[in-house]
Amino acid sequence: MNNLLFDFTVDKPAKTIYINREFDAELSLVWEAFTKAELLDQWIAPKPWVSKTKYQNFKVGGKRFYAMVSPEGQEHWTIQEYTSIAPKINFKMYNAFADKDENPELPGSDWDHNFSEQNGITKVSITIYNESLARLEKLSDGFREGFTMSMKNLEELLANLSQK
């Protein structure tokens, strides 16, 4: 499809996930897409899930409170607190699952985003540190019960294994 970089690595002992991705767009657009709720809502939820932001205050100490909504209308809330912002270079946040009344489910995870541009291609590097690896399954935001895509993978994997 394209030659843009995408890598995803998990360092289990360090409890850290590293994600690198290039985008065919200038840095200022990519920065907006990662930091403005109305844009985040357009891409952060893998279809058929949708993302709905209740409020966002993009400043240090500010928060974004949003839900991943399943096709059946099930809501999984997440609260993100911005801990550091260097415009168009870097931002950090603390991510935690929450109930609909904004009570966080701790421990959460620390997210670090770095942005750089070269020849019109913008690279984003994301580091996610999770205190508890047992909660790794929740790193994918609200997919506690619902991740149909992954379950399809599991079913295929198991089907392959059971044929052997």
């Binding site: 939820a45 895509m149 599991l154 994997l157």
Partner: protein, 106 residues
């Protein structure tokens, strides 16, 4: 009673248990803490998973730890593949959003 592997994954709670213990061995109590259900219900799911040979038990002192039968599930890395795919889907969606933004700017 003979059970098959599809029975193991037919239930959402059992799928969630598999996800949990894929990462580390856990006691039934520790597993139960992750669910809004009774300890008895979790024990029942663990029994079914054990009968399907998807999980194994190990006695450590007074506690029994449940862990994933890796041979049956292949590597944990395969399991992690799902997270990679979620991100891949996300970023493909973002590519489209960026394209729309670029067009609007012109």
């Amino acid at each position: 009673m003979r059970r098959d592997i599809f029975q193991a994954i037919a239930d959402p709670t059992r799928r969630a248990i598999i996800t949990l213990i894929a990462l580390q061995a856990m006691t039934p109590n520790a597993i139960a803490e992750n669910f809004h259900t009774t300890r008895q219900s979790v024990s029942k799911h663990l029994r079914i998973l054990t009968e399907c040979e998807l999980v194994k038990q190990e006695q450590q002192g007074r506690e029994i730890y449940y862990s994933l039968e890796i041979k049956k599930m292949k590597e944990i890395d395969k399991w992690l593949e799902q997270f990679r795919q979620i991100w891949e889907t996300r970023f493909n969606q973002l590519d489209k959003v960026l394209l729309t933004m670029k067009k609007k700017k012109k």
